[in-house]
């Protein structure tokens, strides 16, 4: 227990240190990304639901697994979708970035050229 508490406190310090330098422009992806990380509970769900034979534990754990997986997969995917939209000025050289962005970002690419 004490060991865990030490880990918790030290990890919190690292978190404060790393996150306080994230610029305002990335605060939404930061939230959804860390949110996905908090879905690490899915590991816990796998452990409880998968390891023991109790019927209640299995089904409660199964429900936990589903909601945690929604959180993890959805969170990382949506963060990725947001982050691929953040571009510096002059993007024309990076064609692969534009073609990867199959989603709504691709349409105004003509505009980005008029800007430059």
């Amino acid at each position: 227990m004490l060991e865990n508490l030490i880990i918790f406190v030290l990890a919190s310090f690292i978190g404060f240190e790393v996150i306080s330098k994230v610029p305002q422009t990335l605060h939404t992806p930061l939230m959804s990304g860390t949110n996905a990380i908090s879905g690490i509970t899915m590991v816990g769900a796998l452990v409880v639901a998968g390891m023991v034979g109790g019927v209640w534990a299995k089904w409660i754990g199964f429900a936990a697994l589903i909601v945690a997986t929604i959180n993890v997969v959805g969170g990382f995917m949506v963060t990725d979708r947001m982050l691929q939209m953040f571009k510096k000025k002059e993007p024309p050289a990076r064609l692969e970035a534009a073609s990867e962005a199959g989603t709504p970002t691709s349409s105004p690419s003509s505009l980005s050229q008029t800007a430059s």
């Binding site: 790393v18 109790g54 299995k58 969170g75 953040f86």
Partner: protein, 486 residues
């Protein structure tokens, strides 16, 4: 051997989370960072699946597929303007998962619904619950359930299903207090019942269920009194809670990966909460007590009467287009109104047109503009606005003196000069964007209704202000047409 391999995998996963979050310090490396963090998660899950003795692999894979599929669809379908709701919903799922895992940890001692203990449990009876574990279990349930119901109330408010106004009723605070005491009592019953637990199940099971129920109601009561404009704080705080819930679950399961990740997320949410509070010059307590803004405040406002008799300069798209086209420097100030009207693409088009005419265009983003931290930045990024044209409040506030036109799109309280000098104003002391110092201010707004703080905005009556009434997107489309016609 296997167990140290798992621990090693968790350590690598935790390291990947930290490196991934570090890369979020710059938009150029952020996407890679998120992918690294996702890789860390995959590693942790795969290690657990293959190295732990999993009894029911089929169910587990099914769970992963179902959850993953739902997550995938939600993430793909969501409109960028709906991002705050989605983040709130995911947050809620995370909280619920933590509470459920803690519950399942207790439930594994119980016989099945038919009263029979399964063979597997008989073969390997779990270790007895210690008091320390019991404390972490109740904390997981409490924090997880509050996060769950609170996040979904926030979801409802952001989506507009629930009223964005603060909801308060007589005796609400007392009720919240009583429920909190009740939850404490249930926690006490649970912990006190653990020494005789597997033999005597009732105190623990009933204590746990009552706690879960009370925590759900508490989550609702904690968020409904908070107004729509304060949602950035709430979403950030709930984000922090979901991390703490995961960490508490880590204590329950003695699992380092959960503790480390939970602590990281808890810290991140707290930092964001703090930044949001500072940007509104209000304490966290003041935000959480709620009741700020909305119709009630607007109705009761005495000072609003002082606004009467002042004149508002309404303008037309044609005149505004001339002002913009012949300016040297234009600063665009977006707010929640731009999100509601989905005007970000039109804004970008207008900015490009002006840039073609040789106008310098910059964007000024207030930290609490919109409904979640960084909301405006994401919308403008969606419209392909390069992030180096977006400026934070402190970077750009000195530039308004040399700006010809400030174009305020659906922002209100964050540009209200009363925050600087009117000590009686509820938003006094809040740092604002000094748009009133620019030569001309053009404000795109649907009507003269006050912002979410319910405060009259004196900027609307300033001699250098022009009001362009109408839906933000339609107004900008008209502006584009007029600028083109010039």
């Amino acid at each position: 051997m296997t167990s140290s391999l798992i621990d090693l995998a968790y350590l690598v996963a935790a390291a990947l989370f930290i490196i991934g979050m570090k890369r979020l310090q710059s938009p150029a490396t952020a996407r890679r960072g998120n992918q690294l963090a996702a890789g860390g998660m995959l590693l942790a899950v795969v290690a657990t699946l293959f190295l732990h003795p999993i009894l029911t692999p089929v169910e587990m894979i099914a769970g992963l597929v179902i959850g993953g599929g739902i997550g995938l669809v939600l993430a793909r379908r969501v409109e960028m303007t709906a991002m705050p709701e989605l983040v709130a919903a995911f947050n809620g799922f995370g909280g619920l998962a933590s509470a459920l895992v803690a519950g399942a940890e207790v439930a594994r001692y119980l016989p099945g619904p038919d009263g029979v203990t399964t063979a597997a449990v008989q073969a390997a009876p779990p270790d007895p619950l210690t008091a320390a574990t019991a404390v972490t279990v109740v904390l997981s349930i409490l924090i997880g359930a509050v996060t769950f119901s609170g996040s979904f109330v926030a979801f409802g408010k952001l989506k507009g299903v629930l009223s964005g106004n603060p909801v308060l009723f007589p005796g609400m605070r007392l009720l919240t207090l009583l429920l909190a005491l009740g939850a404490l009592g249930a926690m006490g019953v649970f912990v006190a019942g653990t020494p005789d637990f597997p033999a005597e199940v009732d105190p623990v099971v009933i204590g746990g269920l009552v706690l879960f129920g009370l925590a759900l109601i508490l989550g609702v009561l904690l968020v409904i009194p908070i107004g729509g404009a304060d949602m950035p704080v709430v979403v950030a705080l709930l984000n922090s809670y979901s991390g703490l819930a995961a960490a508490a679950t880590g204590f329950v399961l003695d699992n380092t990966a959960l503790i480390v990740s939970g602590a990281l997320v808890g810290a991140s949410g707290l930092i964001l909460t703090n930044i949001m509070c500072e940007a509104m010059n209000r304490s966290l307590l003041n935000v959480l007590l709620g009741g700020f803004g909305g119709d009630a405040a607007a109705g009761a406002a005495g000072p609003a009467a002082s606004a009467e008799g002042k004149t508002v300069n309404a303008t037309t798209a044609e005149d505004a287009a001339i002002l913009l086209s012949y300016a040297q420097k234009v600063i665009i100030v977006p707010g929640y109104g731009m999100a509601v009207a989905q005007a970000q693409h039109a804004v970008r088009e207008l900015a490009d047109l002006l840039a073609e005419k040789g106008v310098t265009v910059k964007y000024a983003i207030h930290p609490v503009a919109g409904r979640m931290p960084g909301h405006m930045n994401v919308l403008l990024a969606e419209a392909n606005v390069p992030y180096d044209q977006l400026y934070e409040m402190d970077e750009i506030n000195g530039e308004f003196d040399t700006t010809d036109v400030s174009l305020v799109i659906g922002a209100n309280d964050v540009v209200n000069p009363a925050a600087r000098h009117d000590t009686s104003s509820p938003i006094y002391g809040m740092p604002i964007l000094n748009v009133d110092r620019s030569k001309t201010v053009i404000i795109l707004k649907r009507s003269m209704r006050p912002g979410y703080s319910g405060v009259e905005n004196e900027l609307f009556f300033a001699p250098n202000t022009r009001m362009l009434f109408g839906d933000a997107k339609e107004s900008i489309t008209r502006l584009i047409a007029e600028v083109k016609a010039l």
